[in-house]
């Protein structure tokens, strides 16, 4: 069940303000809740199997903590934290010299539950389909076909060899076609 965005805003902002005033417990609660959301956010963009998700999550948490003085108390907290998460993700990808173009999507995305989003947005059906594949295959397809990386870049990113990326894409697409076919027949 997704938390309505206004409720999320209120809860998180409240924790943030208490943390800014020196309440360590509120700050810990905030960072813990954010860690979970950030994990989902970064995983959806780096691919399910990516080994570096936790690194980016930690980098983002550190940035949120160290730069909390840049939060303007009169503005929405969700917008602020989304901008930092997006910046850290871009920075991470850039450091890996991956030429990835990420869509600057709506900040609300960070605060929605996954089932909710998939149901609302038909485009996200791809996520559902890919999740039915083995992680290596879904990552190969996601990186080369959705994020627009070359095979070599995708190989460097996942640590797989180039040929296993190619094989992963081939087999994954074949399996997806089969899945789609069976879905169409059954409906």
């Amino acid at each position: 069940m997704a938390m309505p965005r206004t409720a999320a805003e209120e809860t998180f902002k409240n924790l943030m303000l208490r943390g800014l005033d020196g309440d360590a417990d509120a700050h810990r609660t905030l960072l813990t809740a954010l860690a979970q959301l950030l994990h989902g956010y970064h995983r959806r963009r780096l691919g399910n199997g990516a080994a570096d998700i936790e690194d980016v999550v930690q980098d983002t948490l550190i940035a949120v903590h160290e730069r909390r003085h840049t939060y303007d108390r009169s503005r929405p907290f969700t917008v602020w934290v989304y901008a930092i998460a997006h910046h850290k993700l871009i920075d991470h990808l850039r450091r890996q010299r991956l030429r990835v173009t990420l869509a600057l999507d709506d900040f609300e995305d960070l605060f929605e539950a996954e089932d909710d989003r998939a149901a609302r947005d038909a485009g996200r059906d791809v996520d559902v389909l890919l999740s039915q594949l083995p992680p290596a295959q879904s990552a190969a397809i996601r990186l080369t076909r959705l994020e627009g990386l070359s095979v070599a870049e995708a190989a460097a990113h996942t640590g797989q060899s180039e040929s296993s990326i190619k094989v992963g894409v081939h087999r994954g697409l074949k399996k997806l076609a089969a899945l789609l076919g069976s879905e169409n027949r059954s409906s």
Partner: protein
């Protein structure tokens, strides 16, 4: 062994000190004061104040220059405060800087329209048009550095824009200091060459922003 996320969170939230409300604003203001002081020292130790400063304080031209520069400082300060924070800030706020410039340019055109063509040339070019923008640009550099220092520790997400804003503010403060040296009296001179002088550090800031303001 690598730190787990929960260990990291515990480390970050132990010994949590309260964050004062206007930290970022006061840091920007401190950078501004340091930059202005450095520009003033540079100016007095090389070019000197204008010789007729004691009589010039009674003229509207000096105060007009100072007022123009102060308006630009105010606009640039607001822009910097926003650009140093993450999330998208509407860029139309640049109007806070464009408005004083627009008023100065219109006033300058208005005034030069009634002058004879000889007087008009003096009004626009004065005697120091060729060096004025460069001096303003040079004097702005300490302030630009100080502002970049503060911004790097903040969280700008549009680095080119943030650099541009820092340059504008540094240029405006430098303009304020330079007015104490500059003997020119033309309104059109100020509207054109002073403004150009401020644009130099702004362009530098926009050019170097992605390198200077990158944070991790």
């Amino acid at each position: 062994m690598k730190e787990s996320t929960s260990q990291l969170i515990n480390r970050l939230s132990s010994d949590l000190a309260p964050t004062p409300r206007h930290v970022l604003d006061s840091r920007l203001a401190a950078a501004l004061v340091i930059g202005a002081a450095a520009a003033f020292v540079l100016l007095t130790s090389s070019l000197g104040l204008r010789a007729d400063l004691s009589t010039a304080v009674a003229t509207w031209t000096l105060w007009g220059k100072l007022l123009y520069a102060a308006a630009l400082v105010a606009g640039g300060y607001v822009l910097c405060g926003q650009a140093a924070r993450p999330a998208a800030h509407p860029r139309w706020r640049i109007i806070m800087v464009l408005l004083p410039i627009g008023i100065a340019v219109i006033a300058a055109l208005w005034r030069s329209a009634v002058l004879s063509s000889g007087a008009r040339t003096t009004e626009w070019l004065g005697a120091t048009a060729a060096i004025c923008p460069w001096l303003i640009g040079l004097l702005s550099l300490p302030c630009l550095l100080a502002l970049c220092f503060v911004m790097r520790r903040a969280a700008p997400t549009r680095l080119r824009w943030a650099g541009f804003c820092a340059g504008l503010l540094a240029g405006a403060i430098s303009m304020l200091v330079y007015a104490l040296h500059c003997p020119e009296t033309g309104l059109a001179f100020v509207a054109s060459w002073y403004t150009l002088g401020m644009c130099l550090p702004a362009a530098l800031g926009a050019l170097m922003g992605p390198q200077l303001l990158r944070w991790r």
